[in-house]
């Protein structure tokens, strides 16, 4: 399968990339890892007139903890997340998710920024970001702006990234208390989109009270979904079996899955309930160990 014709540019600086995006107009697309965009172009679901390849721009791939944030450069590859000691020691939700995203070859190229900026509720990082209460840095000719992940997803393939802008960094507040996180998705086979996926992040203080909770859902809602009702149950709770069960129940009730080849609505809600419960227990265990 061959994509429609397009013009290709590979700028070596962000400034140059912004200029090209402005010059080319609405039909230009940004090429990061390319493992969502190129398949769509081959199927001719997408036919941009121009591709602006940002792989040659230095300084967009990094993982650091500074100023109270875990900062991840948008062009950080999935395999770099899998291999980073900062991530594997503390932010287990990424390790869980990275393992389940596509396959090793795709993870060698796929980027975290692309996974989010693609704006697909079936991708895995959006739920992870919602659980971690991330902020996203969007950059353009007028400078940088920070957007809460809660305001980032606008619709199917639509995000807060406006024409001429590039998502450049993801910031996750460094947890202050005991922290645990986990992600799991049910998939029919390696590389499949989630039948349902749940990302969980919690913080627990020294008295065993939950001080922060985030729950994000994959592919069971038109937009990547944060389950506020479940989070509210958990914050201030001692994370009893009952509270966990209630949070899981709310997640299953509040999402809005559609029936497809992966399962019907009831089945998907059931999965959300079971996975939420399991991931909460896993995150609690991780926070305590």
């Amino acid at each position: 399968m061959i994509a429609e014709n397009f013009k290709y540019a590979a700028p070596s600086s962000l400034q140059e990339a912004y200029e090209l995006l402005h010059e080319y107009g609405d039909d230009a697309k940004i090429l990061a890892g390319g493992h969502s965009l190129v398949p769509m172009m081959k199927l001719r679901f997408a036919s941009p007139t121009h591709l602006v390849d940002i792989n040659n721009i230095p300084g967009l791939a990094y993982i650091t903890e500074e100023d109270g944030y875990l900062k991840i450069g948008a062009m950080t590859r999935e395999h770099e997340l899998e291999e980073s000691s900062i991530i594997t020691n503390k932010y287990h939700v990424f390790t869980d998710a990275s393992k389940l995203i596509a396959d090793p070859q795709v993870r060698n190229f796929g980027t975290i920024g692309g996974n989010i900026a693609h704006g697909d509720a079936a991708n895995d990082h959006p739920a992870v970001m919602l659980a971690l209460k991330a902020e996203v840095q969007i950059s353009g000719q007028d400078g940088d702006r920070m957007v809460s992940i809660n305001d980032f997803f606008h619709g199917f393939y639509m995000t807060a990234v406006q024409h001429g802008e590039i998502l450049t960094e993801i910031r996750i507040p460094v947890p202050r208390n005991k922290f645990g996180s986990a992600y799991h998705k049910e998939e029919r086979k390696v590389g499949d989109y989630a039948t349902a996926g749940v990302a969980v992040a919690i913080e627990i203080d020294d008295n065993g009270v939950c001080t922060n909770a985030g729950i994000g859902l994959t592919n069971v809602n038109p937009l990547p979904m944060k389950v506020e009702r479940s989070e509210a149950v958990l914050i201030g709770s001692r994370l009893t079996t009952e509270d966990i069960a209630t949070a899981a129940k709310y997640a299953a009730e509040d999402c809005s899955p559609s029936e497809d080849l992966r399962g019907d609505e009831d089945y998907k809600r059931h999965l959300v309930k079971v996975i939420t419960k399991r991931m909460l227990n896993k995150a609690i265990q991780r926070a305590k160990s």
Binding site: G34, Q105, V106
Partner: protein
């Protein structure tokens, strides 16, 4: 509008004129005439087109040729040397790790990167490691054995038996 790109394939530099929409796998097979890299599913699912780009395994049906400008590509043709087969080829040969052979070039290129990063993988790590490569003949067991054999060979360890197991 075409673009001129320069890349190294198995150590040899090539300068090629391509349309931006040309896929890397087509460049390798058609412009450079190396047909060892296969096109299986053409949707980045099967891994038959796996090659190495600057040492990293990649599905060349989902990468544009222009993205490989200035890069070093390794394909299955580059594995064997004048001295003989690469250990992974020897491993696949001795362990009967292929039937029809269609997935083999991609499977071996993937295994090469995996063993480079993790010279002594567990069986589970091997199975995860080749989870992006489909084989419709072998049932994978002999491929896993071949990679285990290669791992031992490359580390100078005692070689596991290559006798087939009859259950």
């Amino acid at each position: 509008m075409t673009k001129t790109i320069t890349l190294k394939v198995n150590g040899t530099e090539h300068t090629v004129e391509v349309e931006p929409r040309t896929l890397l796998v087509h460049l390798i097979r058609e412009n450079i005439s190396m047909t060892g890299t296969h096109i299986g599913c053409d949707t980045s699912s099967c891994g038959a087109c796996t090659i190495l780009i600057n040492g990293k395994s990649a599905k060349s049906c989902t990468i544009l040729a222009v993205q490989a400008d200035g890069k070093e590509i390794a394909t299955v043709e580059g594995l064997a040397t004048a001295e003989g087969l690469h250990p992974i080829q020897e491993g696949f040969h001795l362990n009967h790790a292929l039937h029809c052979g269609f997935c083999t070039p991609g499977m071996m290129m993937r295994a090469v990167e995996m063993l480079e990063k993790n010279p002594n993988p567990t069986e589970e790590e091997i199975r995860w490691g080749i989870s992006g490569n489909l084989c419709r003949c072998t049932g994978y067991n002999n491929i896993v054995k071949a990679i285990q054999w290669t791992s031992a060979k490359m580390q100078g360890k005692e070689l596991p038996s290559t006798e087939p197991e009859f259950v």
